[in-house]
Amino acid sequence: MNTESNLEDRGILITGGSRGLGAALAHELARRGARLFLVARGARDLERVAAAIRDHGGRATAFAADVADKHAVHAIAGAASDVLGTVDVVIHNASTLGPVPLRLLADTACEDLQRVLEVNLVGPFRLSKVLVGPMLLQGRGLVVHVSSDAAVAAYPRWGAYGAAKAASDHVARIWAAELAGTGVAFLSVDPGEMDTQMHAAAMPDADRSALARPEVIARRIADMIAGAGLPSGARLEAATWKEGA
């Protein structure tokens, strides 16, 4: 089965679309025919990604907004729905590490933990809350939470980020349980360690040559999105995903 064609004309919203995995996903999904609505805080970088996609014949709209801002949620959802017609897939990719260098949990300011939870957990929850309802009426839709191995393993100094990602995985599972049988599916995807600006900020001494390219991971995640039949609520690891499987 040709999974690429399943993405033709699908309306896909990606948060954190201005760089790293988000930008790579935007390029990959656009190449496969999807119509994209990209959200990130930085207008200039985001517009650059959208413009590059359009230059290659793809369809992408940039919308600068902060996913952690409660007042921005209806603007994002309303504009995305109008531009795309229907939002068929949401990819919660935007996330923050909090202040770097990363600190021990006990040295983490409460406000920094709150900010990480706002961006990585509450923001995606709010956006799902307003975008999943139309999916219920349509009887189809997919929400992807970009996760991390820090959601599963207790790495020292990754407390705020890891706790937020673990909670995000669980939110995806609970959405999946509550909406079982409705045609609306939820996935968590652990992309693995990638050579991105975020990784460099967290682990500046890492050997970059040992890290995966975001473009490679984006292809695998695009396959997951295109492929039918993945059980809603599943947590998938891109590092071990077989392309074309």
Binding site: F37, T61, A62, F63, A64, A65, K70, H71, A72, H74, A75, A77, G78, A79, S81, D82, V83, G85, T86, V87, V130, G133, P134, L136, L137, Q138, G139, E178, L179, T182
Partner: protein, 356 residues
């Protein structure tokens, strides 16, 4: 009936006017028991846009713009109000200053030019904004607020006026019958075998502050019926199930699409000025879940298409007696058309039918 003065999160009461004219009191949570497996519940998925904008004219006069329908990439119809705020009843607001074609308005850093004015009601204008698409949405959401109601005890936030299934921001004021539907209830209905479908209907402005213009309401409204909804209605007809509308905007959209299709609902986007009343036959819709509204509104007139006027008055009287609350955040009624009302259903098992 008194209006509900704030958004509600508790029990919503329901009056059920059955096809045999019996009137039963209950709550919205009873809906899964009142409907039948296979019934198709059609919802308006229009999100409510922040249609109220504070603007300044080129001469420095402060006005309020209420957007009331998108007519082009850059163009929106708007009603202009003069001094005052949401605590004033719309009809008590000062009239706007005289506006002419070519006049410029500023809404923050957003600019709009008046490109048309209504021949009879000068406060109804067409605005051309200096941007379109996502950039215009971004500016409107940054500057605008939802249209406010003077009978509420606090100003409304956008979160207060969205249905759980709101998608494209086409509605100027909330398609309010849907505001009462929670996820809990929708999933319960689904378990009870009720099917869902959607239309997008640009629910319009409810009050303009100008009696002559109010008499023309509802203005022409844009709607979209997806192909999947057309298929779901045909399927419901085939199995002998009912098509039920959540709110009057859904009735307007489906009945307009049926007239456009010569008797059968057709898919697509169009604009409608259809006014339904006791003299217009229903081609598609068999019943409606609706908010409570006073007699002498266009809303009440539309309900006349479902049941005889005296039954509607009986329903309103009973609701008042029971202390039901009215308006956007009020209680609801489930009105099922008498079998003879819907011309399609008179001929059982007919999928398509022609308007008389």
């Amino acid at each position: 009936m008194s209006p509900a003065t704030a958004p509600r999160h508790g029990t919503i009461r329901l009056l059920h006017l059955a096809a045999d004219d019996t009137l039963t009191e209950g709550t919205l949570a009873d809906l899964p028991q009142l409907l039948r497996p296979g019934d198709l519940l059609v919802c308006n998925d229009a999100a409510t846009l922040p249609a109220s904008l504070r603007a300044v004219t080129g001469r420095g006069e402060a006005v309020e713009l209420r957007l009331c329908g998108q007519t082009g990439e850059h163009d929106h119809l708007a009603v202009v109000f003069g001094a005052g705020d949401w605590r004033d009843r719309t009809e008590d607001r000062a009239p706007p200053p005289r506006l002419r074609i070519g006049d410029q308005l500023s809404v923050g850093d957003l600019r709009a030019t008046i490109v048309a004015t209504d021949a009879v009601a000068p406060r109804l204008v067409t605005l051309q904004f200096d941007r379109a698409g996502a950039a215009l949405w971004r500016a409107l959401y940054a500057a605008g607020r939802p249209v406010q109601y003077s009978y509420l005890d606090r100003p409304l936030d956008l979160w207060d006026v969205q249905t759980v299934f709101a998608a494209r921001p086409w509605a100027v004021e909330p398609p309010s019958a849907g505001l009462a539907l929670t996820w809990e209830l929708l999933l319960e209905l689904r378990r009870a075998g009720v099917a869902f479908a959607r239309v997008t209907h640009a629910a319009g402005i409810s009050s303009t502050g100008d009696a002559a213009l109010d008499a023309r309401l509802p203005l022409a409204e844009r709607y979209d019926v997806p192909a999947a909804t057309v298929a779901a209605i045909a399927e419901a007809r085939r199995r002998g199930s009912r098509v039920l509308a959540v709110g009057t905007t859904v009735v307007r959209a489906l009945e307009s699409a049926a007239r456009r299709g010569g008797g059968t609902v057709i898919a697509g986007t169009a604009t409608t000025d259809l006014r339904l009343s006791e003299t217009t036959p229903l081609l598609v819709v068999d019943g409606i879940l609706t908010g409570m509204h006073e007699a002498d509104t266009s809303h009440f007139a539309l309900l006349g298409a479902f049941v005889r006027r005296e039954r509607l008055h009986a329903l309103a009287a009973r609701a008042t007696e029971l202390g039901f609350l009215a308006h956007e955040f009020g209680d609801v009624a489930l009105i099922l058309a008498a079998p003879s009302t819907n011309v399609c259903r008179r001929r059982t098992h007919v999928v398509a039918c022609s308007p008389p």
